[in-house]
């Protein structure tokens, strides 16, 4: 899954014009920036923020899906969902490692998540209320993630770009798996079809919000584009997502919950209704239905596991001491 359009990174930087110019030339020549290379402080900060948000999103994203592992309605689905949630955890691990190359530890990032300082994708502040939501998350949420992440495979920062290649392959598998869940429901009993439609109704708008604010309201897009951390604007990616997804819904016989949605021949894409940005900002600022529960759950897991992590360290220390004593 994915961190939405970057929230609140500070791209300010203080280097000499000569340094910045040389750096920009490397970026423009499509050279990858590696962790040990000199880089502007603003570039480093933006990446730490973005990769951290992305990693946190993967980890928090395990919760709404984990909510259905114990109730998955067939053994095949149960196994597939377990494997998927495990993939998301793997992405988190990968991304924390990529962020660590920039000089910030996983512990620091975890603390920032728990204190509310670091953000994660707001989509996970919506609850999963039926089995269909597991399909919809794969289809729409992972689908939106792919739109965002494919360009990140060409991100100027090497470790992030390389991590994204593997992550995108797995996400694309998740997206197809999610679509297949929804297809099975859409072709199933009337109750199953209703479950699928209700799920689409609830997740459609939050999925569109995953791409972040309109370009006109996006504070830090320009600098990220210049540094080639970002390749497309929020609105461009959102449009691509809508154009790809609407025909999929039509194929399933499901109705996209937007009365203003219509094909615009001239632009070769769909026009859509206005997104409720009040809702977007409300949830980003911590007032969605699940914000508090998600952080509470993450903190509880962390605190309940403290004695385990302490024991592992203590044991490693004892082993080391015994080895030295034996030598």
């Amino acid at each position: 899954m994915y961190s939405q359009g970057l929230i609140g990174a500070d791209g300010q930087t203080n280097e000499t014009p000569e340094f910045l110019e040389t750096f920009q030339k490397r970026i423009d020549a499509e050279e990858k920036v590696e962790p040990t290379d000199a880089m502007p402080e603003g570039y480093r900060r933006t990446l730490v923020r973005q990769i951290g948000q992305h990693a946190h999103s993967e980890i928090v994203g395990m919760l709404p899906e984990g909510n259905w592992i114990t109730r998955a309605p067939s053994l095949r689905r149960k196994a597939a969902l377990l494997a998927k949630v495990q993939d998301e955890g793997g992405h988190g691990l990968y991304l924390y490692s990529a962020a660590e190359t920039l000089g910030v530890s996983r512990e620091e990032m975890t603390e920032e998540l728990h204190s509310g300082k670091a953000k994660y994708s707001s989509i996970f502040n919506y609850p999963t209320l039926s089995w269909a939501d597991i399909g919809t998350i794969g289809w729409l949420v992972d689908g939106a993630a792919i739109m965002n992440q494919i360009p990140l495979c060409r991100c100027s920062f090497g470790p992030y770009a390389r991590a994204m290649i593997r992550v995108c392959k797995e996400e694309s598998f998740h997206q197809r798996q999610g679509y297949e869940i929804i297809m099975t429901l859409a072709q199933g009993t009337p109750e199953q079809k209703e479950m699928a439609q209700d799920s689409l109704n609830r997740w459609w708008w939050p999925s569109l919000m995953m791409f972040g604010p309109h370009d006109a309201d996006s504070e830090h897009s320009d600098q990220s584009m210049t540094w080639k951390i970002k390749r497309f604007t929020n609105d461009q990616l959102r449009q691509k997502f809508i154009d790809a997804t609407v025909p999929q819904a039509e194929y399933l016989g499901l109705k996209v919950p937007d009365p203003d949605l219509k094909w615009n021949e001239e632009k070769g894409g769909y026009d859509h209704g206005e997104i409720d940005w009040d809702e977007f900002w409300r949830v980003v600022k911590g007032h969605g239905r699940m914000n508090r529960d998600r952080i509470k759950d993450r903190r509880a897991a962390w605190e309940r596991g403290a004695w385990v992590r302490e024991a592992a360290l203590a044991h490693a220390e004892k082993r080391r001491a015994r080895k030295i004593a034996a030598e």
Partner: protein, 248 residues
């Protein structure tokens, strides 16, 4: 029919334990364990699926693996009591895993000579899985047993709580005895020596001792479970049962 029942016992063990492990998903003490536990759960559920499928074929009533898993009540479940024990804390969870894997590893080694082709197939794969479950859970038992004061105390509590469920692993129900006599499944009692050795080696490093269990708990193979299994099944079966006949 008796081989069918014996396979069902084995399948239920794997599904119930896999389900218990899956309850940890997203709530583990560290990210690495959030990856490791679903991995082990997947091994167990995978084995359960093949065994249900084989049992259903032997039964010959056209039931599916999902009918087996989702349409039987707790009295019809035949898993041993150990696997249904609640997660409690990480110490209980890794010890339960170690106890089970230390039993199943020699079991699958022996089952590679089964007269049943499907059982042989499962054994070939599961023997490798159980070896790493022993390694993973065993390493944790050692770290926690020989870690901090708190972790050692929690580990001793887990040993105290779970050891009364060990003897049942080695009992063969009448159905299992017939399957054993037919060469389909290994004789459970024969595996005790190996289990004792595996546990003694790990407990030696973990500064733990295996207590005597003068009053072992039994009954799972007759469908006489603790109260926790009913809740596990109610949750697991809820969606499937709410939509009879639906495809998922």
């Amino acid at each position: 029919m008796t081989v069918y029942h014996a396979l069902l016992e084995l399948a239920d063990d794997h599904l119930v334990l896999g389900h218990r492990l899956s309850e940890w998903c997203g709530h583990a003490p560290m990210l690495e364990e959030d990856l490791a536990m679903p991995n082990m759960a997947l091994d167990l559920i995978g084995t359960a699926r093949t065994l249900y499928d084989r049992a259903a074929a032997l039964e010959g009533k056209g039931r599916s693996e999902d009918d087996m898993a989702y349409l039987r009540d707790e009295r019809a479940y035949r898993n041993c009591l150990l696997v249904e024990r609640p997660n409690e804390d990480f110490a209980h969870t890794v010890l339960r895993q170690l106890y089970f894997a230390a039993f199943m590893h020699p079991y699958w080694i022996a089952a590679q000579d089964s007269t049943d082709g499907v059982v042989r197939g499962v054994a070939g794969k599961a023997v490798k899985e159980m070896a790493y479950h022993i390694r993973h859970a065993g390493e944790w038992v050692i770290r926690l047993g020989d870690g901090t004061e708190e972790s050692a105390a929690r580990m001793r509590d887990a040993v105290e709580a779970l050891s009364i469920y060990v003897d049942e692993l080695f009992d063969s129900s009448p159905a299992a005895r017939e399957a054993e006599a037919a060469g389909v499944l290994p004789v459970r009692a024969d595996l005790r020596t190996q289990w004792d050795k595996t546990i003694a080696d790990i407990f030696g490093e973990a500064a733990l001792t295996l207590p005597e269990a003068p009053y072992p708990q039994r009954g799972g193979r007759e469908g006489l479970h603790g109260e926790g299994l009913g809740h596990l099944l109610a949750e697991m079966q809820s969606v499937y049962r709410a939509h009879p006949g639906a495809q998922w």
